[in-house]
């Protein structure tokens, strides 16, 4: 029978996130994968700017804060200096897909041997819910009060699709965290990405679709239904690139 114990890579305190925020779940999945691979002493967490940086409050291990959007550049330096360590960045969509777009594409194109965990909640959570590059068409935010209009602001950026067309990345996948199945798949995907990194295969990218109850203006349970009807059909979950193949 299954049993579950809180991973040791999390500090004994509640997270810094709002009630129902799936960032907490994403952080815990990373901690679970690290515990399963017995890498707690070996892992280095490169955090970005935004709500994703709040995972420092729950992360029990080595970490470093990068400038806004520059986590892949910092992780590149760390991994090149310390090739034996498990290096991963934890970034949100405002950080990775907006200001850090050049960094992530360059790091992916160079095939740097680290893992990017990309939590996509379709908004700038920490600064008050402005429109992010990944905000859905028609989705309301403080800077698009009538819903995102593609005529003036374009369409949501699909990062997995963008990165999967590059030659170097070895594993690119997207998972939705709004259902038990999605969470189980995400857990396996994160573990696989870490294993590929430890085997020295190259760049791995895992996108996790999350929510933002506070800035979407919904109850936590309502955000899960919103994700089902709006987010998941646009950002389709799945494995976009898997050079190594095999089961996951």
């Amino acid at each position: 029978m299954p049993s579950y114990k809180r991973p040791g890579a999390l500090l004994p305190m509640s997270t810094g996130y709002c009630p129902g925020c799936l960032h907490g779940l994403a952080t815990r999945l990373v901690a679970d994968a690290i515990e399963e691979l017995n890498q707690q002493k070996n892992a280095i967490n490169v955090v970005s700017v935004g709500c994703s940086a709040l995972n420092l409050y729950s992360w029990c291990g080595d970490d470093i804060g990068a400038a806004h959007g520059r986590a892949p550049a910092v992780a590149t330096g760390i991994k090149r200096c310390l090739p034996d360590r498990l290096v991963f960045t934890y970034q949100g969509d405002g950080d990775l897909a907006a200001i850090g777009l050049a960094e992530i594409m360059s790091a992916a194109n160079r095939g740097e041997n680290f893992t990017v965990i990309f939590a996509n909640n379709q908004t700038y959570g920490m600064t008050g819910g402005q429109m992010a590059p990944t905000t859905l068409v028609g989705q309301k935010s403080t800077t698009t009060p009538y819903g995102r209009d593609p005529v003036t602001t374009g369409y949501p950026l699909k990062m997995c699709e963008l990165i999967s067309v590059l030659e170097a990345p070895v594993f690119v996948a997207r998972y939705a965290l709004n259902s038990p199945k999605g969470v189980m798949d995400a857990k396996k995907g994160i573990k696989k990405a870490f294993e590929l990194q430890l085997a020295g295969k190259g760049f791995t990218f895992v996108e996790l679709l999350t929510n933002c109850p506070t800035n979407w203006g919904m109850s936590p349970l309502a955000t899960l239904d919103y994700m089902n009807t709006n987010t998941v059909p646009y950002f389709v979950p799945g494995v976009y690139k898997d050079k190594e193949g095999g089961k996951q």
């Binding site: 029978m1 049993s3 709002c18 009630p19 799936l22 907490g24 936590p220 349970l221």
Partner: protein, 68 residues
């Protein structure tokens, strides 16, 4: 058997929504932090499937497998 740490719980209700046996319910008391937290209303029916723990964003739920 499940153990809910009410100091971590923020009362989002994901565990209640996804429990396949519907044995969790939002409690009437508030925790020290001021959140309502779920209580186990039918411990006998729990199969230790750990889906509540899987969906908990705060890792507030620990599950120990039942004997036998």
């Amino acid at each position: 058997m499940i153990t809910i740490n009410e100091l971590y719980c923020k009362g989002c209700g994901y565990c209640i929504k996804f429990c396949p046996r519907h044995i969790l319910e939002m409690g009437k008391e508030r925790s020290q932090k001021g959140h309502f937290y779920p209580v186990n209303i039918n411990e006998e029916a729990c199969t230790s499937c750990a889906i509540c723990a899987l969906m908990c964003p705060e890792a507030a739920i620990e599950v120990t497998a039942k004997e036998g």
